[in-house]
């Protein structure tokens, strides 16, 4: 039994993958709670496309690719926040507008002959190809993102639950959601280099969505979310080892199964009476902030 657990870890590739899942899981589990609360899953799934124009520009200017990618994804995040605030009814519309335009711009830039081949693949990694450098990067970004989330917890909470009262406290919803999108962008930047886009989207969204089904209070939700991210992630890695299925997809699949399991538990639990139910009404200001003229049917 013990051997069954330790044997995969005697292989360097699997061991590093395990450490990376734990590191990324502990930050994405927390970030994910805010992503779910603010309903910005589309951003979490699509922000990685913002890397592309930055990468191409950096390659053409002779700058380090990582720098270009980072600039690209942060600019994408800030533009999404700005468009969502000033120019569209729905945050999702803003994501589609910004990501599509910037990606198209990247494709046009990449036509110039100076662009190296396969540039889009350069920053995208595979769970089993994780390097020690990426482990350190993941640890560092986890520390920074968690620290910033800790410091801005009250602000995020005030805006996330009720942007009206947040504003009366002197907070600016646009600035707060821009901050959140930047943190999500930083998590994704580190995540896609070691895990690839599919798996990062899964580790950010699935554990938090699952945890939200089981609890209505924020602190337990965060703890549960981190636990699910690490537990389901590690389980997925063992499945990939013993069943020999694609590593990243197996981990992503286990995370989705964890969500399905939690949905089943919550459906069963709902038959029993519940003490209080205040959490579900909360919706993000990003998605509900209608800045356009009211629509009247004609």
């Amino acid at each position: 039994m013990i051997e069954w657990v330790t044997e995969p870890l005697s292989h360097g590739t699997t061991l590093r993958a395990l450490v990376e899942i734990i590191l990324i899981g502990s930050v994405s589990g927390v970030v994910g709670c805010w992503v779910v609360l603010y309903e910005i899953s589309y951003s979490a799934e699509s922000l990685a496309h913002g890397l592309f124009p930055g990468l191409v520009a950096a390659a053409l200017l002779g700058l380090p690719l990582l720098l270009g990618g980072a600039a690209g994804i942060i600019v994408t995040a800030l533009l999404i926040a700005a468009v969502a605030r000033y120019a569209s009814d729905h945050a999702d519309t803003a994501v589609a507008v910004v990501v599509t335009s910037l990606f198209g711009f990247g494709v046009l830039l990449a036509l110039s002959p100076g662009t190296p081949p396969g540039i889009q693949e350069l920053l995208f990694g595979d769970l089993l190809g994780v390097t020690d450098r990426e482990l350190f990067a993941a640890a560092a970004i986890a520390a920074v993102v968690l620290a910033v989330l800790w410091l801005s917890h009250d602000r995020l909470m005030a805006i996330g639950f009720d942007s009206g009262s947040g504003r009366s406290l002197g907070l600016r919803p646009g600035a707060v959601s821009a901050l959140l999108l930047t943190l999500v962008a930083a998590t994704i930047l580190v995540g896609v280099q070691s895990l690839g886009n599919l798996l990062v989207a899964a580790t950010v969204i699935a554990p938090a969505a699952a945890a939200r089904l089981l609890t209505h209070r924020f602190a337990p939700m965060v703890l549960l979310s981190v636990g699910i991210a690490i537990g389901a992630g590690v389980a997925g890695l063992y499945v990939s080892y013993y069943a020999k299925t694609a590593a990243g997809a197996s981990v992503a699949g286990c995370l989705v199964l964890a969500y399905v399991g939690c949905a089943a538990i919550s459906a069963l639990a709902r038959r029993a009476p519940r003490p209080h139910d205040g959490f579900r009404a909360a919706a993000g200001p990003v998605s509900r902030a209608a800045r356009s003229p009211k629509l009247d049917p004609s």
Binding site: H11, S41, V83, H90, D92, T100, Y241
Partner: protein, 634 residues
């Protein structure tokens, strides 16, 4: 001014975009009103497992995509109904689940080819009658849906909370809206490509939404704006020779930005509109096109290798366009207007064959070209199966699988011409004879062959001769010139083959073992008697991933067989090869050219250079860096 619209393929693209603008504008308005942009993105992306299944089992890709879109719509509307407050995460998770299923099927069940990513994606410059029919159908469906259902959708309004109590029957209409969205998305995707879905469905409607609050204005305005932006984008793309999808996306984004800016600085809307026109006009004026008619034979070649062979034979007497450039990723490839024009004008189109450039046939048909298509892999002296490379390495007993294609060798001995190589090779064949399965070398009717045929010089000689025949037919007055060039080139190829064979032979037979990134080198190892004991990536699509178990087994194999090197490829991320290298001590420093030649100025810019570089690196890798091969390559 209007001359870009004179070519037939551009006119067809214009018709297509005008037809699509009806559905994109009408349904796009509702996407924007209801905040369904994420859903529309997800339903298109989630078609991937449908494409993998279609390719693996063998039914039309469009069927797979529409089927998958249906499944996605049902799942997400069921789950979304169960818990309204988490529609956003449910959409994301359904998408993740679909993608994970697709990746596992592509990697572990079907060993999918590189084409599954692109099976569905069309281009505005390559429109066939099926695309036009689909666009017309989507226009009709969207008009009917809006006429019949818009008041129902409106009853639910934009305040979901209130509507829930007012109209309990609204769910069926919601579902209808999502189904129409899914249909429009897949129709757009398959006709004009993934990038244009959001560029046509979301951005224009979001732009119009900023300046109107009337539903009818929004719908009509969106249709008109999609049509205008599409037409402008197509015109610009022909003027500047850029891919139309990306151009339309950027044009739409700019118009959105200008309108948003104009709204912020309210009184100056007129000024801003003028600004928009000036900006776009300047953008358009940036490039012009100059045509020169030299009277030479016009020839197009699909891949970088094929273009090199054709250039070697045709020399100065042909006007050659290579369609794939060394820096384009074939997976992301969207044809540029000049590519389509080159194909439309070409007398001969040379094609590599197999999965790598299946799109070429369609491009020839859709561009209205009457070119002769020459498929260089139609009649090769050495043909290997594609499928048998892709097996996993469950343990030592499986190694024979990779080597099974050695069998091909015995059969092609008589066909090949490099006499000196044959000796070394025959020995090698015998040595491994016990490992061979009874597979035959030549692919049978209907079976896929491994498309990387050019890694065997014997095939290159045959391809060169085929190129020469085709060119001589098209331009009889230059036949002697082509013959001369071809003979000179064949001599170089044969000389290089002898040199490589000698260089490889100097490595003891037991040490000729390599692990490659993906299985592109079957022809090379087969020709020169090298054993591939494993490959890192289980399938050819960029979506494929290895499993933790297979990679661990591969590490064992590398240790047991004393494999000295794992070879990354120039067009694939080296991370997995490097990870294996860290754990096993095998080197990962020697990069090979697999699917494409290198860019100009690299050591793999021509086929001869690529071959010399690969051979040098493979020998360096097998000998632990002690010895490489020095070749004189012109």
């Amino acid at each position: 001014m209007l001359e870009p619209f004179s070519s037939p393929y551009v006119q067809e693209g214009l018709v297509e975009i005008l037809l699509l603008s009806v559905a994109a504008g009408l349904i796009g308005s509702w996407l924007v009103l209801r905040g369904l942009a994420f859903y529309s993105h997800a339903v298109g992306t989630a078609s991937f497992p449908g494409l993998v299944l279609a390719d693996g089992i063998g039914f039309p890709a469009a069927l797979g995509a529409f089927g998958m879109a249906g499944v996605f719509t049902v799942i997400s509307s069921l789950l979304g109904r169960a818990r309204r407050s988490t529609v956003d995460s449910v959409t994301a998770l359904t998408l993740v689940a679909c993608m994970a299923a697709g990746v596992i099927m592509a990697s572990d069940v079907f060993s999918s080819g590189a084409n599954v990513d692109t099976l569905l994606f069309g281009s505005l410059l390559a429109i066939d009658s099926g695309d036009v029919m689909l666009a017309a159908a989507s226009a009709v469906v969207s008009i009917l849906a809006v006429l019949l259902l818009a008041h129902r959708w409106l009853a639910k309004g934009f305040d979901e909370g209130a509507a829930g109590s007012l109209a309990s029957g609204s769910r069926i209409f919601d579902f209808a809206l999502m189904a129409v969205v899914a249909f429009t998305v897949i129709a757009t995707l398959s006709a004009v490509g993934a990038l244009l879905v959001a560029a046509m469905m979301v951005i224009p409607a979001a732009t119009v939404r900023m300046v109107t609050s009337r539903l009818s204005t929004l719908q009509v305005g969106s249709v008109l704006l999609v049509a205008a932006e599409g037409t402008l984008g197509l015109w610009l793309s022909v003027k500047t020779d850029a891919p139309p999808g990306a151009t339309i996306a950027v044009v739409s984004g700019l118009v959105f930005a200008i309108v948003a800016f104009a709204r912020a600085v309210r009184p100056s809307r007129l000024v801003a509109s003028a600004l928009a026109l000036v900006a776009l006009g300047g953008f358009a004026a940036g490039c012009g096109s100059g045509d020169d008619d030299s009277g030479k034979v016009k020839v197009a070649a699909t891949t970088t290798q094929v273009a090199d062979f054709v250039a070697q034979v045709g020399g100065d007497e042909i006007d050659l366009t290579g369609i794939l450039k060394p820096n384009t990723d074939p997976h992301e490839y969207e044809p540029r207007p000049s590519d389509v024009e080159a194909v439309a004008d070409a007398q001969i189109v040379f094609q590599s064959g197999g999965h790598l450039d299946e799109w070429a046939d369609q491009l020839v048909d859709d561009s209205g070209s009457d070119a002769t298509v020459v498929n260089l892999s139609a009649d090769l002296p050495v043909e290997l199966h594609g499928g048998e490379h892709d097996h996993e390495h469950e343990g030592e007993e499986d190694h024979a699988d990779d080597h099974a294609d050695e069998g091909a060798h015995a059969e092609d001995e008589h066909a090949s011409e490099g006499a000196e190589t044959e000796e070394g090779h025959a020995e090698e064949s015998e040595e491994h004879a016990d490992e061979h399965t009874e597979e035959e070398g030549h692919a049978h009717e209907g079976e896929e062959i491994d498309p990387h045929w050019w890694h065997d010089p014997v095939n290159v000689v045959a391809a060169t001769e085929e190129v020469e025949h085709a060119l001589a037919v098209a331009s009889p007055e230059n036949a002697d010139y082509f013959q001369q060039n071809a003979d000179a080139y064949v001599a170089q190829v044969k000389q290089l083959q002898r040199q490589i064979a000698q260089c490889v032979k100097a490595v003891p037979a037991g040490e000729r073992k390599i692990v490659t990134d993906h299985d592109a080198f079957g022809y090379f190892t087969n020709r020169f008697g090298i054993e591939t004991v494993g490959t890192v990536i289980p399938a050819l699509t960029t979506q494929a991933q290895p499993s933790a178990g297979d990679l661990a087994d591969l590490e064992e194999t590398i240790r047991e067989e004393n494999v000295e090197a794992v070879f990354p490829e120039s067009s694939v991320s080296p991370k997995l090869a490097e990870a294996l290298s860290r754990d096993t001590g095998a080197a990962a420093d020697y990069t090979l050219y697999g699917d494409t030649l290198g860019p100009d100025g690299s050591d793999g810019a021509t086929w001869l250079e690529m071959m010399a570089s690969n051979a040098n690196n493979i020998v360096l890798g097998m000998t632990g860096g002690e010895r490489g091969c020095e070749f004189e390559v012109s």
